[in-house]
Amino acid sequence: MKITVNVWRQKNASSKGRLEKYQVDHVSPDMSFLEMLDTLNQQLMAKGEVPIAFDHDCREGICGSCGVVINGLAHGGQLATTTCQLHMRKFKDGDNITVEPWRANAFPVIKDLMVDRGSFDRIIQAGGFISAHTGSAPDANGTPIPKENADLAFEGAQCIGCGACVAACPNASAMLFTSAKVGHLGLLPQGQPERQQRVLKMVAQMDTEGFGGCTNIGECTAACPKEIGLHFISRLNRDLLGATLRGGSTVD
């Protein structure tokens, strides 16, 4: 196949970028999207041009490194699929593909298709943990947890932190990301002691980072490669409103 790509090129954070058009010959339908970019890069280097920078690592859909907006859709729009698992057989010979980085105030572009997602780390640092000192743990079976709770907590815990939810949201909101962690920890008995403070701190950090607000549109969940549901956002809202009314205290 022959494919034309319009790729966002930007030298560094402070420079202005633009879309550049390239033709990629010899695209195999068995290539992943990133392998198509690899091929393009080899082609560029052969001509003495600087290759396109993009984040990627595990290339099996779990590390959350990769992610670009392909023809207007985060990760290309295939259900439950990260960019690295998207394959070229989903495209046709002669297709014209626009490739852009995640766009959000809280995800500044570093170079080409790479963005800085440090804001996600800072949201977790604000409270996305259970303070269990190493060595302080009781026996793992000491507290039975209803399977339903554990399963639902797992659903939230699956988040890979790729940022597709922010990229797809018309407001660049980080609610799905934040709610997935709040939901995961809040559904477990171990997470209860810090539950009120956790949600208050994480939401405050999320707002500080400059993400937009949630207008319950649902693009996030449609783009999420782990299909994390909007009900996590409702759960976050419930937790936050409750915690606020209680002044962040665990007792009434």
Partner: protein, 226 residues
């Protein structure tokens, strides 16, 4: 108070304010629509209902107390709803300073993407609507205390304005089609089991209110009500 301020400062808090005030306004439009439909009972029934609204609470309370209380609550709700919306819109557009060259949507409904535009349209319509039927300043034949006459003649004399009313209530229906569900989501009432119920309620509200409100200009224009 401290809790309220914290809440107000966060995006979710502002949204909660929008949700609560939205529910108040939603309650109002439902009652308003039911009241409007009394027009099918003829001039006597409709005018009596209108009069009732003005005297309700009397003589236990001074004249117009309840009416003004309702007006104050609604006005405060509207101001909070609109001001939170403006603040959130600013935050949201600051969330993405550089736009995508190419954008597609996978799931977003027309209603959810046009919530702000619809809301703005409804806001200006409400002002016009008050000047039209409550104060009467833009009504060519306004008669104080004769609402039946005002409604019927208002639409008969200015059929184009009846068209504007239809558009406005369509905007209202669309607004609620997403807004009602969105409010329950924002207030954290939704979960995996009841989500369909709230979605259903929102759809029903959107369609029901549109039909209920749109019925009046339509029947006037068709000459069913004179």
């Amino acid at each position: 108070m401290a809790a309220a301020m914290t809440l107000y400062r966060s995006t979710i808090g502002k949204k909660a304010i929008m949700a609560v005030t939205g529910v108040i306004l939603y309650g109002f439009v439902i009652v308003h629509m039911i009241g409007n439909l009394k027009i099918f009972e003829g001039p006597k029934g409709f005018n009596e209902y209108s009069h009732f609204l003005r005297v309700v609470g009397e003589p236990a309370l001074p004249a117009g107390t309840i009416l003004w209380l309702i007006r104050i609550v609604l006005t405060v709700a509207l101001i909070l709803h609109v001001s939170a919306a403006i603040q959130l819109t600013r935050i949201d557009s600051a969330g993405r300073p550089v736009a995508y060259k190419k954008v597609k949507r996978k799931q977003a409904s027309f209603a959810s993407m046009t919530l702000r535009w619809g809301g703005t349209a409804i806001f200006f319509f409400v002002i016009y609507h008050l000047m039209h039927f409550t104060i009467g300043t833009v009504h060519p034949q306004f008669i104080e205390g004769e609402p039946y006459h005002n409604v019927v003649s208002g639409f008969q004399l200015q059929p184009l304005m009846a068209g504007v009313y239809l558009l406005a209530v369509a905007a209202l229906g669309t607004h609620l089609y997403h807004g009602v569900w969105s409010a329950t989501q924002t207030l954290g009432l939704n979960n995996r089991r009841n989500d369909k119920l709230f979605r259903g309620l929102a759809v029903l509200s959107g369609i029901g209110l549109f039909v209920g409100f749109a019925a009046i200009p339509v029947v006037v224009l068709l000459g069913i009500i004179k």
